[in-house]
């Protein structure tokens, strides 16, 4: 039994665990801190993959991941939270218990899917794909269950994290794809930032359930 797959497995598991921690957390600043932690672990995981697969360009991906996801985006979101004055609000979500159970079911689903369908793929790529799919589904779950637009953004960023995890786990993913994913996240951040202020200007809140009424979905 070699040491290498253990480490990458461990780091991916940490990322998945932090996704669950995000689902559990209902206040915005701690949520952001958990997101920072997830991005840091992801950067570590990419660095490990760079060393393990002997592909030094992955180090650039790790640096981008660290700079953008662990420093820049959290900083912008944190100033956003401060300026919107919502850093003390406690979110009323669907309920931590049910969303946790749904999360477990999603993890089970993605494990069953990847492990059965791709039994032929050897090495860590298969497990990394399973982890990435779980993190992606958990991010989606977070976007669905939260009503606050900022936590939906964090859910979206977690999905981006899962894409990077999947991309680095698989061997031979072109470097262009990874940089594109990173920059798409940045562009999304800018668009979302503008969008948030527009919602806020119009409705005096970033609770997206108000939008339902505006669209005429509720009487």
């Amino acid at each position: 039994m070699s040491f290498a797959p253990d480490v990458s497995h461990f780091l991916s598991g940490m990322i998945l665990l932090l996704s669950f921690a995000m689902l559990y957390q209902d206040r915005l600043p701690p949520l952001l801190n958990i997101f920072i932690a997830q991005s840091l672990v992801l950067a570590l995981s990419i660095t490990w993959q760079a060393y393990n697969q002997n592909e030094p360009q992955l180090l650039i991906t790790a640096a981008i991941e660290f700079g953008v996801k662990a420093v820049l985006i959290p900083f912008v979101l944190y100033t956003l939270i401060r300026r919107l004055k919502i850093h003390r609000t406690v979110e009323t979500v669907v309920g931590i218990g049910p969303s946790m159970i749904a999360g477990m079911a999603l993890v089970g689903l993605s494990m069953a899917l990847i492990l059965r369908e791709h039994a032929a793929i050897g090495g860590t790529a298969r497990e990394d794909l399973a982890f990435a799919l779980s993190v992606l589904l958990l991010g989606l779950l977070m976007m669905v269950t939260r009503r606050n637009a900022v936590s939906q953004v964090i859910g979206f960023m977690a999905i981006e994290n899962s894409l990077v995890l999947a991309a680095t786990g698989a061997k031979g993913m072109p470097f262009v794809v990874e940089t594109c994913v990173a920059f798409s996240a940045l562009v999304a951040l800018i668009v979302i930032g503008v969008f948030l202020f527009r919602i806020r200007e119009r409705f005096d809140s970033v609770d997206v359930s108000i939008l339902d009424h505006f669209r005429g979905e509720q009487p």
Partner: protein, 314 residues
């Protein structure tokens, strides 16, 4: 030789237990910039309580007076089964994780009954809350044990320790998840801060202290000692399963046992200080959020079992 060691361990767990409680209290006091009571204060408290006359309510049944002895005996038995400074493989099937949990559940049952016995409001309230916590904590604990059993292939504590000690084992995500879950359960079971506050008798949300409010004198001494022993048990349990390094294997020589003993004391100290630091840095949860807190431990157990299935290929 081995019989002597086993007897030594049985005496040791009860002799060290108040000291561990003292270290936790001292750590908390120092972090709050108080001087705090001395480390041996819990021993003095026990001595004092043993000298005092127990006051028993008129309508108390035999259960009320018998419960402290039973609770202490059960907790002591459970604590003696957990490996401490050496791996007690000679105990055979007795040193089993599920056995320990079962004995502790019996002690909890007796405590809840004793709380209800006199019929005061606080006792009943405490008992009902204790059962609410137990009804979530025990499944979570069993789930964690099952995930550990999936990883290690056994539920016997010395064998689990041997498995974790083996050099072929690398970083294992399932073990880390189980560790986190078990630490959360330990905090909840010992009535520590996010779940219950062990340092107050004045809170409406108290659980353990509400149940033992009617006890005094030697009865209270037994219950306090049982509580300290339970704390030591959980620290030893976590140390034995997740950081078994340093424990003397069965059939080694005297020097190994001395080393094991030193390591064991260090582990206890680290555990007690870590608990104190954790308690100071966190706020108490509302009682009705406690099942959520323990639910996370249950989820960690499930996740550990799931991830174990993923890493089966490794």
């Amino acid at each position: 030789m081995i019989v002597l060691l086993l007897i030594l361990q049985v005496l040791l767990v009860v002799a060290l237990a108040p000291l561990v409680t003292g270290v936790v209290r001292k750590t908390k006091a120092r972090l709050m910039r108080r001087r705090g009571p001395s480390l041996i204060q819990p021993y003095r408290d026990l001595a004092r309580l043993l000298r005092k006359e127990p006051v028993v309510a008129h309508n108390a049944s035999i259960l009320f007076t018998a419960a402290p002895t039973f609770i202490f005996a059960a907790t002591w038995t459970a604590a003696a089964l957990v490996p401490t400074f050496f791996l007690n493989t000679e105990l055979g099937v007795a040193a089993d994780f599920i056995t320990v949990v079962g004995i502790l559940a019996a002690a909890r049952f007796a405590l809840a009954l004793a709380g209800l016995d006199v019929g005061t409001a606080f006792g009943g309230l405490g008992a009902s809350r204790e059962m609410m916590i137990a009804s979530v904590a025990e499944p979570a604990m069993l789930m964690l044990i099952f995930s550990l059993a999936l990883v290690g292939g056994t539920t016997r504590l010395p064998d689990l320790a041997l498995f974790v000690q083996s050099p072929t084992l690398g970083l294992h995500i399932s073990l880390m998840l189980a560790f986190l879950g078990l630490a959360m359960i330990a905090v909840a079971e010992n009535g520590r801060i996010p779940v219950d506050n062990a340092a107050t008798h004045l809170e409406l949300t108290m659980v353990h202290e509400a149940m033992v409010l009617e006890y005094s004198g030697r009865h209270l001494a037994l219950i306090e000692l049982a509580q300290s022993t339970k704390l030591l048990l959980y620290i030893s349990l976590i140390a034995a399963v997740f950081v078994p390094w340093g424990s003397a294997p069965a059939g080694s020589d005297g020097l190994h046992y001395l080393f094991g003993f030193a390591f064991y004391l260090a582990k206890l100290a680290v555990g007690a200080v870590a608990l104190g630091v954790f308690e100071v840095t966190i706020a108490k949860l509302r009682v009705f959020r406690v099942p959520q807190f323990i639910g996370v431990a249950l989820m960690l157990g499930l996740l550990a079992a799931l991830l174990r299935l993923v890493s089966q290929g490794l």
